[in-house]
């Protein structure tokens, strides 16, 4: 241990590399050493960190059986507690997401769909009332007012639910500005219609174009955003808690290894503490896997049979509302607007749109029929389909009358009137069919909403208690592990 404190080069320096690093000064020069470790000149070892010392102690202890047992106990307790807390944390996330699906994002998605359909419904009611002219029925007026009110309510809900600065918030604000403008145009249309001026029809077409081209697309955007949020919540709630499951397997493996080691060392088959820890951990793991699988299946069920059905039925309802609105507008616009569907072929814009919406309605009803998983859900969809077909037949008859110049007859076949020798189908209006389609769709929507809530609630219930239970059991398991190891340790004292 003696070496020269002063000296340009230690004599023992290997001569093999004299010029390898001439610029690097010798590692220990007295000038740099002395302030750092003044004790060095007396020959003592350099000071080491607490961690390094602890590690050394541990290494030293691990060579003895009690030391090894202590380490094993600590690792087991750590693994079990980690398993429990990760389980609690991950399942809490999933339960929160499932709760959001049930109580927040699905209701908000429904509310957004409600805004859309209320707006479309109000637009349709306005055109129906307009067709009746000065003889507008109180029902049609009340329906228009009710739907406008519901749209405004729905917008308030959507505004409260949207995050500040988000796209939804902006769309809600724009819709809030457009709604009174739309309503003003409808009132002007009514006033002019009452005076008998065709100008009323022009106002109604303008109001309709604001609804179709500006308001409904914005409402659609809000609906899409809410649906995205719903899908996100669903995928959060149903994603597998892999971290918890992996930790559970590792913890159980470690417990099994510890018990085997115990058996090999002592020939004792059972260590009560370790057995208790294993049992508790197994329960947590089984609960975790079974509970989540069950919740997942309920939630998937609620998505497939609830949310998807609800979306399709909402779309179908909106298509039927739009079709009805366009049917009315065909009679109101009386050929004022045409659409060139291909070169040199122009058709009435609103009659063309009616055809498109009916096609959409037919395909959505077909999808809804396939998605309906029980008779109670399938029945109203089937009725709606039958009513839709009757609607199309009556519509054709009304169109024929209009094209033959029998306007009054066409009008009677759309909004209802009397059967006369001139107009035999005058008392069979398409309005009846539309009302029945709407009624059936509402029944189906109510049914699917209940189905959704039941399934989603089932999913949420399957996860109830899991986070807390996992935490408690993990603490018990950790205690068991520590006690079991402690019992072995005590044999060495």
């Amino acid at each position: 241990m003696t070496y020269t404190p002063k000296g340009s080069a230690p004599p023992s320096a290997p001569p093999a590399s004299p010029g390898a690093s001439p610029s690097v000064p010798p590692q220990a020069t007295p000038a740099s050493r002395s302030p750092l470790s003044p004790a060095a000149p007396d020959g003592g070892p350099p000071r080491r960190t607490a961690f390094a010392e602890g590690l050394d102690q541990l290494r030293a202890a691990a060579t003895t059986e009690p030391g090894r047992l202590r380490v094993i106990g600590a690792v087991l307790a750590l693994l079990v507690v980690a398993f429990g807390s990760v389980t609690a944390w991950q399942m809490n996330d999933r339960a929160t997401a499932a709760d959001d699906v049930l109580t927040s994002s699905q209701p908000l998605s429904s509310a957004a769909a409600g805004v859309y359909s209320s707006l479309a419904d109000a637009n349709t009611a306005a055109s129906s009332g307009f067709l009746a002219g000065g003889q507008e029925t109180p029902e049609s007026r009340a329906r228009y007012e009710r739907e406008i009110g519901e749209a405004a309510d729905g917008l308030a809900t959507a505004a409260a639910a949207s995050e500040p600065g988000s796209e939804s918030e902006q769309r809600v604000a724009e819709l809030n500005a457009l709604l009174p403008k739309y309503k003003g145009l409808i009132e002007r249309a009514r006033a002019n219609n009452r005076l008998g001026y065709p100008l009323g029809g022009a106002y109604l077409r303008y109001a309709n174009s604001i609804m179709q081209d500006q308001m409904l697309p914005k409402a659609q955007k809000i609906y899409d955003n809410e649906n995205r949020r719903l899908r996100d919540d669903y995928s959060d709630a149903t994603s597998y808690p892999w971290a918890a499951i992996a930790l559970g397997v590792v913890a159980l493996g470690a417990l099994a290894w510890a018990q085997r080691r115990n058996y090999l060392h002592t020939n004792r088959v059972l260590n009560h503490g370790l057995v208790a820890a294993t049992a508790a951990s197994t329960i947590v793991l089984l609960w975790l896997v079974a509970g989540h699988t069950l919740a997942r299946s309920h939630l998937n069920d609620s998505y497939d049979h609830g949310v998807r059905s609800l979306t399709v039925l909402n779309d179908a309802r909106i298509a039927s509302l739009k079709a009805r609105g366009n049917e009315n507008l065909t009679l109101i616009s009386r050929g004022a607007e045409t659409l060139e569907i291909k070169k040199d072929v122009s058709v009435d814009k609103f009659d063309h749109r009616f055809g498109q919406e009916m096609k959409a309605l037919a395909s959505q009803l077909a999808t809804a029929g396939k998605l309906a998983d029980d008779d109670k859900g399938a029945q109203p969809v089937k009725s709606a389909l039958a009513n839709m077909q009757a609607w199309q037949d009556r519509h054709r008859s009304a169109r024929t009358a209009d094209e033959e110049g029998k306007y009054q007859c066409a009008l009677d076949q759309v909004i209802g009137g009397k059967a006369t020798p001139d107009c035999r189908a005058g008392d069979k209006p398409t309005g009846e069919c539309f009302d029945k389609v709407d009624e059936n769709l509402n029944t189906a929507l109510g049914h699917e909403k209940r189905e959704f809530e039941q399934a989603a609630r089932g999913g949420l219930d399957a996860m109830t208690g899991l986070p807390v239970g996992a935490a408690v059991l993990a603490v018990l398991a950790a205690a068991g592990a520590v006690l079991g190891i402690g019992r072995r340790l005590s044999e060495y004292r």
Partner: protein, 346 residues
Amino acid sequence: MEAVRRLRAGLRGWGGVGAMAVVCALTVIFALVLPLSGTRGGGPAGTGGQGVAHGEQARADDDCETRNDPQNRSLRPSSNESGTAIKRIKDNGFITIGVDQNSYRWGYRDPNNTDGKAELEGFDIDIAHRIAEEILDDPTKVRFRAIPTNQRIKAIQDGQVDMVVRTMTISCTRMDEVAFSQPYFKTGQQVLAPKSSTIEGYDKTLAGKKICSASGSTARDTLEADQKSGKLVASADITSVNPPNQLDCLVRLQLGEVDAVVTDGALAASQAAQDPTVKLVGAPFTTEYYGVAMNRDAKDLVRRVNQVLEDYLKDGWQKSYDDWLSATLGDDSTGSRPPADQKYRD
């Protein structure tokens, strides 16, 4: 047909020179007349150029374009009812007439008509009834068919209707596709503005104003051509509001989205009839004639309808004018009546 061919052949020689002389004479007349209505010097030349441009599109009737007299190219009236077209109508027992349902005072339906029959009424409808009355001895033997503006020609060509009475302007281009009767109404593009507006007509008072015209309408084309030629002030905004129907322009005017509307004087009058706070300002700045359109092959029907119109102009026309149009076009109907010395192609 032989006569027409000979006429065309002749036009290629001395007739062509004569036609050019007529155009020159017309140009001089335009130049003398137009400045009176407050137009700039660029106007007449622009109008002449426009005529030539159209002539290229409708080669079949160059002569019509150069003379610019489509209203004088119908067939001579006759009461003869032995032709095939009239025979078919008589066999049917009714006549199918394409009309408008949206032109207040011309062809429209009163939604408040409570006796269960929302009947069409208006100036065009009166003519339709009169035609049915003379041909079938019963004014009610007519089936009205509402047709959109851009379906008028197709409806005639496809035989969906026997004729169209729907504020349809007689034009050389359309003559290639349908046959027109003699004119039954004289009108022209006109400006409609709020009574309180500073706009005084089709002149510099339109500077900086937003003008509404229906997309694809004659009014829209005229405005664009006039702005190019300098007849219309460049600062007038004619492109930002072009709704599908002329009536939509009144909506935009009432909402304050535009300052003025340009459309046929007759339709502008129908708009003014629906809003007492707007009025027609200035004189019409083009001349157009409305006629009854029929199939090109139904020559017998054209002659018969011309006979009806000739009788109608003497007796009936004035009453219908007083009923529907005098309130907005004024009691004096001379500006709306087609010229008394009606000319025919043969």
